[in-house]
C-alpha cells in the first residue's frame, strides 16, 4: 500500500507536502467538501462550539499553569497573584473559570440536541457512546480544576466527592486513602489533581478526535432524522457550514464575554474566596452548578452506596440509551409522545439542578426524589415502551423533498411511517 499520494493541490509547497503526507487532502475531504445535510438548524452549531471551547480551556489553562502553585499553603495566594499581578491574569482566570461553565452549557445543549433528534440511534451508537466518554472526562477535569484554587468549596467539595468512594463495600476506605495519597485531602491530593487536571484535557482532545472519526464515517444526522438520500440532500461543509458555525461562535462569544467581563463570579460560589480550611466546615457544601442535577440524585437516596450507584447509574444509562429507545424514528418531530416526554425530562433535570443547590430538607427532598424517579422512569421504562406504543407521524421522503416542495407530500411518501428512512 505504500506509495506517494497524488495530490491535486496546485501550490507547489502544499503539493510537495501533500504528496508525502496527504494531510491537506484529508482536511479538504473532511472539512472542505465533506457532504453535510442541508437542513441543519442552529442546534448543529454546538459541536463546533464545544471544540472551540476545549481549545480555549487548554490555551487559558496552560498560561494559568505557568503562574499557579500546587501547594496547599500557596495555591490560594498564587491564584490571587494571577488575579492581581499577572498581566491580564484576571482575564485568564475568569476566562478559564467561566469557560468551564460555558463548556458545560454548550455540551448540555449538544446532548439535548442528540436526545431530541435521536442522534444516538443506529448507526451512530458508537459516536454517541464516545460522546458520553467525553462528558465523563469533562466532569473529572472540571472537578479537579475546581479543587486547584484551594478555597473552602475546593477543599470540602474534594472531601465530599472523594469520600463517595468509601461507599464501595469492603475496600472503600482503602480506595479513598489511596485516592487522597494520605488520610485526608491534603497536599498530595492537590498535586495529583493538578497533574491530572493538566493531563485529562489532552485525553479529551484524543477522544474528540475519535468522536469526529466516527462522525465522518456515519455522516451527520439532521433535524428530520432521516438519512441522506443523495447529493441533492447535502451541501459541502465549506463554505455553508463554516459560515453558519461562525455565526454561532460569534453569539457564543457574546454570552461568554458578558459573563467574563460583567459577571465573572455570578456562577461561582462566594465560599471559594475563603482559603480552604480543614477545621471549618461550610454550612452547605455545593458543587459547581453543572454538577447540581447529579448531586441531587446522589442525595435523594437515603443510603450512601445507593446514592452513589444511582448517580453513576444516571450517566451509565447514557451508554445503553441507543438500545433502550426502541423506536425506529429518530427525530422527536415525528414522535408526538416522545416530543412531550423529552421536555418533561428537561424539567426533571432543571428541578434536580435547583434541588441540588438547596439544603436537602423538606420540599426539596421530595422534589428531588420525584425528579430522580422520573429520570430513571424515562430511560428505563418509558423509552422502551414508547417504541411499541407510539404512533409516529409520517416521515418525509427525503431531506430535499419537503425543503423544495413545501406543501403536503404525496400519499406514497407517507405510507411507511414505521420504516427507518
Amino acid at each position: 500500500m505504500a506509495g506517494l499520494h497524488k495530490s491535486e493541490f496546485t501550490n507547489p509547497v502544499i503539493n510537495w507536502i501533500d504528496t508525502r503526507m496527504p494531510v491537506f487532502t484529508m482536511i479538504q475531504k473532511e472539512y472542505g467538501v465533506f457532504p453535510t445535510p442541508k437542513n441543519f438548524n442552529y442546534f448543529w452549531n454546538f459541536g463546533a462550539l464545544a471544540m472551540v471551547n476545549l481549545m480555549l480551556m487548554i490555551a487559558t489553562g496552560i498560561f494559568l499553569a505557568m503562574n499557579y502553585t500546587a501547594h496547599t499553603g500557596m495555591a490560594f495566594d498564587s491564584v490571587e497573584r494571577i488575579m492581581r499581578d499577572v498581566n491580564y491574569g484576571w482575564l485568564l482566570r475568569y476566562g478559564h473559570a467561566n469557560g468551564a461553565s460555558m463548556f458545560f452549557i454548550v455540551v448540555y445543549v449538544h446532548i439535548f440536541r442528540g436526545l431530541y433528534y435521536g442522534s444516538y440511534k443506529a448507526p451512530r451508537e458508537l459516536l454517541w457512546m464516545i460522546g458520553v466518554v467525553i462528558f465523563l472526562l469533562m466532569m473529572a477535569t472540571a472537578f479537579m480544576g475546581y479543587v486547584l484554587p484551594w478555597g473552602q468549596m475546593s477543599y470540602w467539595g474534594a472531601t465530599v466527592i472523594t469520600n463517595l468512594f468509601s461507599a464501595i463495600p469492603v475496600v472503600g476506605e482503602s480506595v479513598v486513602t489511596w485516592l487522597w495519597g494520605g488520610f485526608s485531602v491534603d497536599n498530595p491530593t492537590l498535586n495529583r489533581f493538578f497533574s491530572l487536571h493538566y493531563l485529562l484535557p489532552f485525553v479529551i482532545v484524543g477522544v474528540v478526535f475519535l468522536h469526529i472519526v466516527a462522525l465522518h464515517i456515519t455522516g451527520s444526522g439532521n433535524p428530520l432524522g432521516i438519512e441522506v438520500k443523495g447529493p441533492q440532500d447535502t451541501l459541502p461543509f465549506h463554505p455553508y457550514y463554516t459560515i453558519k458555525d461562525s455565526v454561532g461562535i460569534c453569539v457564543y462569544f457574546i454570552v461568554f464575554a458578558v459573563l467574563v467581563f460583567f459577571a465573572p463570579n455570578y456562577l461561582g460560589h462566594p465560599d471559594n474566596y475563603i482559603p480552604g480550611n480543614p477545621l471549618v466546615t461550610p454550612n452547605h457544601i455545593v458543587p459547581e452548578w453543572y454538577f447540581l442535577p447529579f448531586y441531587a440524585i446522589l442525595r435523594s437516596v437515603p443510603s450512601k452506596l445507593g446514592g452513589v450507584m444511582m448517580m453513576f447509574g444516571s450517566i451509565a444509562l447514557m451508554f445503553v440509551l441507543p438500545w433502550l429507545d426502541t423506536s425506529p424514528v429518530r427525530s422527536a418531530r415525528f414522535r408526538p409522545i416522545y416530543r412531550i416526554l423529552i421536555w418533561v425530562l428537561v424539567l426533571a433535570m432543571i428541578t434536580l439542578g435547583v434541588c441540588g443547590a438547596r439544603p436537602p430538607e423538606g420540599i426539596w427532598v421530595v422534589l428531588a426524589r420525584l425528579a430522580t424517579a422520573y429520570y430513571f422512569l424515562h430511560f428505563l421504562v418509558l423509552l422502551p415502551l414508547l417504541g411499541k406504543l407510539e404512533r409516529p407521524l409520517p416521515l418525509p421522503e427525503s431531506i430535499s423533498r419537503p425543503v423544495l416542495g413545501g406543501g403536503p407530500l404525496p400519499g406514497g411518501a407517507m405510507a411507511k411511517p414505521m420504516e427507518k428512512a
Binding site: 492581581r84 460569534c250 435547583v354
Partner: protein, 263 residues
C-alpha cells in the same frame, strides 16, 4: 405537517433558552436563604456595566480601613502600589508605605524591620492566626482582601454588617464577648462595633457618620477585592460592541452564502 414542524422549530430555541435562564436564576438565590439574613440592595458607584469606584469615597474608605479595621484585619493580598487604582498619587503611596515597618533581615541574618516600599503587601496586624485569635477573644478577624467576593451579597452585605450593630432584643442570649448584629448569620459576632460617629476625621470635610464610614470602607473593600474591575468593564464594553458588529457581518455573509440554497 411540515408547517407545524417549522413552527415548533422556531419555538424550540426561546424555550430552551428560557429554561436555562430559569435554571440559573433559580439556583442562584438558593444560597441567599441560608441563615435568614437580609442585606438591602444599595446604590453603589461600581454597580452596573459602566460602574466605576467613586475615588473620593474609596480614598476615605482606605482611611477608615487604615485607622480602624487595620488594628484587627489584614489585607495581605494587596500591595501598597495598588492604591494608585483609587487615585492616590505615587508620592502619597510611597509615604503611606514608608510609615509602616515590615519585618526584614540584617546583612548578618538578624531579624529587623525596615520601612515598607510601595511593592510590599499590606502589613498584617498579627504575626499569625493564633495571635489574632488570642487578641480577639478567640474569634479570628478574617483577611479583608477578597471579603467582598467571599460573602453572599458582597458589598450590600458588608454595608449591612457594618451598620447592623444593635442592642440584642429582649430574651436574646448573647455569648460572652459577643455582639448583636442584624446582618450576621446567627446574629452573634465576635467583632465589636468598629464604627462610631466621628470615629475618624475625614480630610475632605465629609461628615463621618457611621453610615458614611460604612459606605466608604465598603467601596474600598470592593476595590481591594476587584482591583481590575474598571479596566475589565471598559474592555468588556469594547469587546461586546466588537462582537455585536462581527456577529452582524458574519450573519450577513451567511445569508449571502446561503442565498442560492433552497432550504
Amino acid at each position: 405537517m411540515m408547517r407545524t414542524a417549522h413552527l415548533f422549530q422556531a419555538r424550540l430555541f426561546p424555550f430552551a433558552a428560557a429554561a436555562f435562564a430559569a435554571a440559573l436564576t433559580l439556583a442562584a438565590p438558593a444560597r441567599a436563604e441560608e441563615g435568614e439574613i437580609s442585606y438591602p440592595k444599595q446604590n453603589w458607584s461600581f454597580n452596573g456595566p459602566f460602574g466605576t469606584f467613586d475615588r473620593a469615597s474609596a480614598q476615605r474608605g482606605f482611611q477608615v480601613y487604615k485607622d480602624v479595621c487595620a488594628t484587627c484585619h489584614s489585607l495581605q493580598q494587596m500591595a501598597y502600589r495598588a492604591l494608585s487604582g483609587i487615585g492616590i498619587e505615587p508620592s502619597a503611596i510611597a509615604a503611606i508605605a514608608g510609615s509602616v515597618s515590615v519585618p526584614a533581615l540584617t546583612d548578618d541574618g538578624q531579624p529587623t524591620e525596615r520601612p515598607a516600599l510601595p511593592s510590599d503587601r499590606f502589613r498584617s496586624p498579627f504575626p499569625n492566626d493564633r495571635a489574632a485569635r488570642a487578641a480577639n477573644n478567640g474569634a479570628l478577624p478574617p483577611d479583608l482582601s477578597v471579603i467582598e467576593k467571599a460573602r453572599e451579597g458582597g458589598a450590600d452585605y458588608l454595608f449591612a454588617l457594618l451598620t447592623g450593630f444593635r442592642d440584642p432584643p429582649p430574651g436574646f442570649k448573647l455569648g460572652d464577648g459577643m455582639n448583636y448584629n442584624t446582618a450576621f448569620a446567627g446574629h452573634q459576632i465576635g467583632m465589636p462595633p468598629p464604627l462610631h460617629d466621628e470615629g475618624v476625621t475625614y480630610a475632605d470635610g465629609t461628615k463621618a457618620t457611621v453610615e458614611q464610614q460604612a459606605r466608604d470602607v465598603t467601596t474600598f473593600l470592593a476595590f481591594a477585592a476587584n482591583p481590575e474591575m474598571e479596566s475589565r468593564k471598559r474592555i468588556g464594553v469594547r469587546v461586546i460592541l466588537f462582537l455585536v458588529v462581527l456577529t452582524g457581518l458574519t450573519y450577513a455573509v451567511k445569508r449571502k452564502v446561503w442565498a442560492d440554497v433552497d432550504h
